[in-house]
């Protein structure tokens, strides 16, 4: 079991986005999040990279990633007024893709801010 230490890691739990966290991790989970607050610690320690979930679900049934991507594309492409929503707990890189997706679809685009 190898132990990795990541210095100056960034916590995305709340809007403070503290970037001074020292993470100690083995291969499946983060064991320690130094300098993080209680909320940040819980956030880091609660995630694991175990395969807890199937890669994808279609109508609640397990599916492959490829199948799910094709199904998603088909439904979104067929819609007259598709909606792209959320984008809080994700990276800017994914957000840029989401805006591009809504632009490509001619759909609606919205984030948590509108709540």
């Amino acid at each position: 079991m190898t132990l990795t230490v990541v210095n100056n890691a960034t916590c995305t739990f709340c809007g403070c986005v503290c970037d001074d966290i020292e993470l100690h991790a083995d291969e499946t989970r983060i064991l320690k999040a130094k300098k993080a607050c209680v909320l940040g610690t819980a956030w880091f320690l609660n995630h694991t990279v175990e395969r807890k979930y199937p890669d994808a679900l279609i109508d609640g049934k397990e599916a492959t990633l490829d199948e799910a991507i094709e199904a998603a594309a088909t439904h979104l492409h067929a819609a007259d007024m598709p909606l792209v929503y959320g984008m809080s707990n994700t990276t800017c890189e994914a957000q840029r893709e989401c805006v591009a997706l809504a632009d490509l679809l001619g759909g609606l685009l919205d984030s948590h801010t509108s709540l």
Partner: protein, 544 residues
């Protein structure tokens, strides 16, 4: 490969003034000959090097704030409709990133210099720049109100300050140094301004704006940066500021510098009622000092949104307009104010500003020293540059425009006496070759062999604004990007970055100072090179 044949070529960098020549392009550069590929028959057309904007605000926290503040403008302005391969966008006062690229390329500009980037949000600026298609880009880092820098200057630690400037440029992956209202933005943290070049700055005991100017100009020179200090003088926009501007120039101690948007810095009179043009004095300085360049920062009548790191000025403007005001603070580096504004011909002050910008362009004799700009979006939007070209090329048109201004203006300006008309050669110098040279981008604004094949081809037209507003072809890096008004391709542009030398212990020197006053980690502060799309790095050779 590409051949452009039969066009009348204007290439001031090589002294070519309207000669009929053929141009050959291979792999994005001009070559001596090319056998294959498309031939564009430019017979009877006018061929220019692609435009270079030496001073604009198109990406980063401030313009992005302006976008959020002006939905009413987005609604009424030009929309770029999505195509299968091309992103949608919105033009107007503060265009979206994609539209910014389309609009610049659409009028033949192929290189832009984003003139105000705080290091702290440089990562953001680069992300936006990577979403501005077609044009090549560079950025300038804001340095004249950075507390760490000012502390070093106050203590007289010049060498340290020089290393820190170099470190910041590399950390921000920027191209050069911008100084905005030296000391004034720092003073604005206290709600104050810095109006006297020789008085200590609020929060400091000895350091004056004049010290900052002298030292930064020298630092830029000694670091061997391709572009000299890019300076937004103190007292922007204030009546009587000509004395500050001339004083600023005297603080350069003979070093090179680029004076940004000089229109805003050439006023006489003691108050708004007495305000008048003092362009003759300022132009005289430029005409006798070839070491300084400037861009006009011309004003065009109509709606715009003003954005500048000059926070105190923006607060004044907000009080004058009573409209919207955005005010940003960037920790101990700088700040920014955002105020939508309408320049009206009936407003005496606005009319004087309009005149001052044109007077400077006409009175400064050498077009290699004065460049086309509106300080976008402050004096007007960049996509209105063709209107300025028309004003420069047609004295009669200026006379017509002058008739719409208040009568009182006559004794305040000198524009009516100016009969000069720019030639196409001079326009090509002021919009392309000159700014490229001032930026130290020698492969730009130049149709010579080995240079970047950025070309704009116009159909000759008596309506100058129409001719420059609607080029027949725009070619970027050898690729046809605009053809008969259609966007044909949207390639990614390069980003120019300077790598100046700094002492290896600068990191360790800066770290404790940084940790003392910043809210982020020192390691997370510099922008990673992987984030820059298509970087082009200039290794600086220091001057002693």
């Amino acid at each position: 490969m590409l051949r452009i044949t039969g066009g009348k070529v204007y290439d001031p960098a090589n002294g070519i003034d309207g000669e009929v020549r053929d141009l050959f392009v291979s792999e994005g550069k001009f070559v001596a000959s090319a056998e294959e590929g498309r031939t564009i028959d430019a017979t009877g057309m006018i061929v220019f090097p692609g435009g270079v904007d030496v001073h604009t605000h198109v990406a980063g926290g401030a313009i992005n704030f302006a976008r959020a503040m002006t939905p009413e403008d987005h609604r009424r302005t030009q929309a770029f409709i999505r195509s299968q391969s091309r992103r949608s966008g919105i033009g107007g006062m503060a265009p979206t990133t994609f539209a910014t690229g389309y609009l610049y390329a659409g009028m033949g500009w192929t290189t832009v210099n984003e003139a105000a980037v705080p290091v702290l949000s440089a990562r953001h600026t680069h992300e936006e720049l990577s979403d501005i298609p077609i044009v090549d880009k560079s950025t300038l880092t804001l340095m004249a109100n950075n507390e760490i820098m000012l502390d070093l200057m106050e203590k007289g630690e010049y060498e340290r300050a020089k290393n820190v400037v170099a470190w910041y440029i590399w950390a921000a992956k920027s191209y050069g140094v911008k100084a905005v209202n030296p000391g004034g933005v720092a003073a604005w943290k206290w709600g104050k301004d810095a109006k006297q070049l020789t008085s200590p700055i609020e929060g400091f005991t000895r350091l004056t704006p004049g010290d900052i100017i002298s030292q930064l100009a020298r630092i830029c020179h000694e670091l061997g940066l391709p572009h000299p200090l890019h300076l937004h003088c103190n007292n922007l926009g204030a009546p009587g500021n000509i004395s500050t501007t001339l004083d600023t120039l005297n603080h350069l101690d003979g070093h090179r510098a680029h004076i940004a948007h000089s229109q805003y810095h050439a006023y006489g009179g003691d108050d708004w009622d007495e305000m008048r043009s003092e362009t003759a004095q300022l132009a005289e300085y430029f005409n006798t000092h070839p070491n300084v360049t400037t861009d006009a920062g011309a004003v065009l009548f109509g709606d715009t949104v003003t954005i500048t790191a000059d926070g105190p000025w923006q607060h004044l403007l907000y009080k004058l307009t009573g409209r919207k005001w955005g005010n940003l603070d960037v920790e101990n580096e700088t700040g920014c104010g955002i105020v939508p504004y309408t320049y009206r011909p009936s407003n005496l002050v606005n009319a004087i500003q309009w005149s001052v910008g044109l007077e400077l362009l006409l009175l400064i004799k050498n077009p290699w020293q004065v460049f086309l700009s509106t300080d976008h979006p402050n004096g007007g939007c960049f996509w209105r540059y063709p209107e300025i070209i028309q004003l420069l090329m047609c004295a009669d048109f200026r006379t017509e425009c002058l008739k719409k201004l208040p009568d009182k203006i006559k004794e305040r300006i000198t524009l009516p006496e100016l009969t000069r008309e720019y030639t196409l050669y001079e326009i090509a110098t002021s919009m392309s070759a000159g700014p490229a040279r001032a930026l130290g981008l020698h492969h730009k604004g130049n149709l010579g062999l080995g240079c970047d094949a950025d070309i704009v081809i116009y159909e000759e037209d008596k309506d100058v604004a129409r001719m420059f507003g609607h080029p027949r072809y725009v070619i970027k890096g050898g690729e046809v990007v605009i053809e008969e008004g259609d966007i044909r391709a949207t390639p990614d542009g390069h980003e120019y970055i300077s790598r100046p030398h700094y002492a290896p212990d600068t990191d360790e020197f800066l770290r404790p100072l940084f940790e003392d006053c910043y809210t982020m980690q020192f390691e997370n502060y510099p922008v990673e090179m992987e984030r820059i799309e298509k970087p082009a790095i200039h290794d600086c050779v220091p001057n002693s």
